[in-house]
């Protein structure tokens, strides 16, 4: 009679022990799995950056054939497979990279490149001679992948990045030199507040959260449109409570980038509130201004930008 009972008790106790202490680890320590940092990047973002880099030709050529180059090299598959996802984020990473570190690391890599080149080049069969350069770049990236953090970009793409950095700095300087905030103060007391504004500007420049339909418009494309309208928007800065005056307009675009129709969303408030009307009209003028019309945007993606809802919110200027 007690036999089955004991048996059941034993099994239950065993289960309880396993639950509390876990199964015994019998095998040796497993080999450490090499960590491969992977960043999921939208393909369109990659293509947009190609379009942006109009000046330096080598990196544009390098990126496109990178994929076909890698295919006919089965031996190098594990290595190229690594830099491929890694190189993409390298291309798409935003400005703040330590350029001085990059230079030192690149020079280090260049020493190793020759070795790699010797290894890589003979293995390639159908590669035309011009692609040697691209392989070099790729080899650089391979080296970089092995190199410890921080990841570096190859030299030619760095130049446009640098230029972009300089440009952004200049833009910031242009915007910040005459007035950190649009409400001037002759003494230093306002400087810290406006510096925060500048920093905030970088993060807050990111547009509103996207809905699924906007997925094909990359961040840089959206930012490009914002920059263009920004140029034409004259903010009514001294108005009462100007920092809280925001206006939303709905815009319908033609396929050539010109505005077909633009409407204020809150028409009722236009009639009641003269300050809101001023803000709304300044937004409409920004959109209709011939200097910003037609907008420079990818025509192939017309479906994504043909209907826009623009919010003109001067919060970053105060």
């Amino acid at each position: 009679m007690f036999g089955p009972f004991l048996y059941s008790l034993l099994l239950h106790g065993l289960v309880l022990l396993v639950a509390v202490f876990g199964l015994p680890y019998l095998s040796s320590d497993p080999e450490p799995v090499p960590l491969i940092p992977v960043e999921i990047v939208d393909i369109s973002e990659l293509t947009q950056i190609q379009q942006k880099k109009s000046k330096p030709q080598p990196p544009v050529e390098e990126e496109k054939p990178q994929k076909p180059v890698e295919d006919p090299k089965p031996q190098d598959k594990p290595k190229p497979a690594e830099p491929e996802p890694a190189s993409e984020p390298e291309q798409s990473e935003p400005e703040p990279t330590p350029t001085s570190d990059a230079e030192s690391l690149v020079s280090l890599n260049e020493d190793v490149i020759t070795e790699e080149e010797a290894v890589v080049v003979p293995k390639k069969k159908p590669t035309p001679p011009k692609k040697k350069e691209e392989v070099k770049e790729q080899a650089e990236e391979v080296e970089k992948e092995d190199a410890p953090k921080p990841k570096e970009k190859p030299k030619p793409p760095k130049k446009p990045e640098k230029k972009k950095e300089k440009k952004d700095k200049k833009d910031k300087k242009k915007e910040s030199n005459p007035f950190d905030s649009v409400l001037k103060s002759v003494e230093e007391m306002q400087k810290t507040a406006s510096k925060t504004n500048e920093v905030d500007e970088e993060s807050q420049d990111d547009p509103l959260p996207t809905d699924r339909n906007d997925a094909s418009m990359s961040l840089s494309e959206r930012d490009a449109i914002i920059q263009q309208f920004r140029k034409c928007w004259s903010v009514p800065a001294g108005a009462r409570d100007a920092e809280n005056l925001k206006a939303e307009i709905r815009v319908q675009m033609n396929a050539d980038g010109t505005v077909r129709k633009a409407d204020i969303i809150d028409k009722g408030r236009m009639a009641r509130d003269p300050l809101f009307r001023t803000a709304a009209e300044s937004a409409l003028r920004a959109v209709w201004n011939p200097e910003c019309n037609p907008i420079k945007v990818s025509k192939e993606k017309y479906d994504t930008w043909k209907d826009m809802r623009l919010t003109f919110n001067p919060k970053d200027m105060f």
């Binding site: 500007e201 003028r285 919010t311």
Partner: protein, 443 residues
């Protein structure tokens, strides 16, 4: 039952599917920065069938352009760049021509004359939307053609900025001449743009701190008259009559009108302390508002008349305080470094302008009525005595330059500056000037 439910469900579903809802693939973007560039505007000459007023039509256009440009918010386009001539544009504006020269707004109009009166009709267009924004007709006697120009400029300003204009106003101030040791000070009044200037006193007595009445036809000011006793006087601009306000055994100064024009507040110095007094103009009854504990002076009403901002050293140094109009609830609002003087409440109600001195430098600054958001608009060897334009957008003040060691070569001029801290400009006065006071919009 189930079948019924299912049937109705199918019907509803098919109906909903038959009319696909507008699933907008709407791209949402937020633009958080812009510029503060002035609006390019084209002001065309007012055309006329009468030769006699065609010159006036051009002059009016010029004054309108000058007014708008002085605000710093508009940039009148050079008439030489205009493609369409004024006659044609008064028929049918070719907006493409105006957009080509980058005009975002366009003013066109006509001028008529009859029986010593001038009438102007003008329209303001938005060149982008090609729609009319303002259409107005104004009449005045021929001698007052400048006022027509200022009123038109005010209408344009108001339509575009959403705030009332300030061009049809006057400025009363103290005109100064002579050497530093022997200054001659005369009360003077002029249009905001420096025109129509005239003197209101002869310079034999010392005059100070003139202030406009809200009805714009009277001025209060301080005069050191007979026996060197300072007294507050009232002068009627229409008929030039003068009256003395109060005959206190002591000194009264820094007078200001209440927003309804029925009372005047001023400081009264007696028995070693200075307190704030309010006087009813009709009954001439006066009431003390602050206790004689310190030096309380420079009082100024809020635009709704419910509060008073003033300067007091009751805390040990000159600071700004706000109290209720009956004298209760006084609390300090200025906490920055330095000393604060001459507070003036903006007619818009949202800011108080003040003079501040710190480490030997003077500043004109603004802060909110609760004391927050202090911003210094300008600084100098001596800047002081700010006054607001009636729309609360622009501040006028006195700027005195240093001169050499003996004070020679020092000048005192009036300047105006936008509350954003931009567009500081010198006002046109025939001689040195100080202590400006801005009138309300003329009616």
């Amino acid at each position: 039952m189930m079948k019924k439910i299912l049937k109705s469900f199918i019907v509803v579903a098919s109906v909903l599917l038959a009319y696909p809802s507008q699933s907008y693939a709407e791209l949402r973007l937020e633009i958080t920065r812009g510029n503060i560039d002035p609006l390019p505007i084209a002001i065309t000459d007012l055309v006329s069938e009468h030769e006699t007023v065609s010159e006036t039509g051009k002059n009016i256009a010029r004054v309108i352009a000058s007014d708008l440009e002085s605000s710093g918010l508009f940039r009148p386009i050079d008439p030489r760049a205009f493609i369409q001539d004024p006659d044609a544009v008064n028929g049918t504006p070719r907006f493409a021509d105006w957009r080509l020269i980058k005009a975002q707004a366009l003013m066109v109009g006509r001028i008529f004359e009859s029986g010593g009166q001038i009438k102007i009709e003008f329209r303001l267009f938005d060149t982008f939307s090609q729609s009319q924004m303002v259409g107005l007709s104004l009449t005045a006697d021929s001698a007052s053609w400048r006022r027509l120009a200022h009123m038109a400029a005010d209408a344009i300003y108001e339509r575009i900025t959403g705030e009332k204009g300030y061009f049809d106003t006057r400025v009363v101030y103290i005109s100064e001449s002579g050497p530093k040791k022997n200054r001659v000070k005369r009360l003077a009044i002029m249009d905001r743009d420096g025109e129509n200037h005239r003197f209101l006193s002869d310079g034999k007595t010392l005059v100070l701190t003139p202030r406009f009445s809200p009805t714009a036809q009277e001025i209060v000011y301080l005069e050191y008259g007979h026996k060197r006793q300072p007294r507050v006087y009232l002068i009627n601009l229409a008929n030039g009559q003068r009256a003395m306000l109060g005959n206190f055994p002591g000194m009264t100064f820094a007078p200001r009108f209440s927003p309804d024009g029925k009372r005047v507040i001023m400081s009264f110095a007696g028995s070693g302390k200075t307190t704030i007094f309010e006087m009813d103009l009709a009954s001439r009854k006066s009431k003390r508002l602050t206790a004689p504990v310190a030096i309380d002076t420079s009082p100024c009403y809020s635009p709704d008349g419910n509060q008073i901002v003033f300067l007091s050293d009751r805390g040990g140094s000159e600071q700004l305080y706000v109290m209720n109009a009956d004298g209760s609830g006084a609390h300090r609002i200025s906490f920055g470094q330095g000393r604060y003087y001459t507070p003036v409440w903006s007619p818009r109600g949202d800011l108080i302008v003040f003079t501040k001195s710190f480490k030997g430098e003077f500043y004109i600054g603004v802060m909110r009525p609760d004391g927050s958001g202090e911003r210094l608009l300008t600084k100098g060897f001596l800047v002081e005595g700010p006054t607001w334009a009636p729309n609360g957008r622009v501040v006028m003040f006195t700027r005195q330059s240093r001169g050499d060691a003996s004070g020679a070569g020092s000048t005192s001029r009036l300047y105006s500056i936008d509350l954003t801290g931009f567009n500081e400009r010198e006002m046109i006065t025939p001689q040195d000037a100080s202590d400006p006071a801005w009138s309300p919009l003329l009616q």
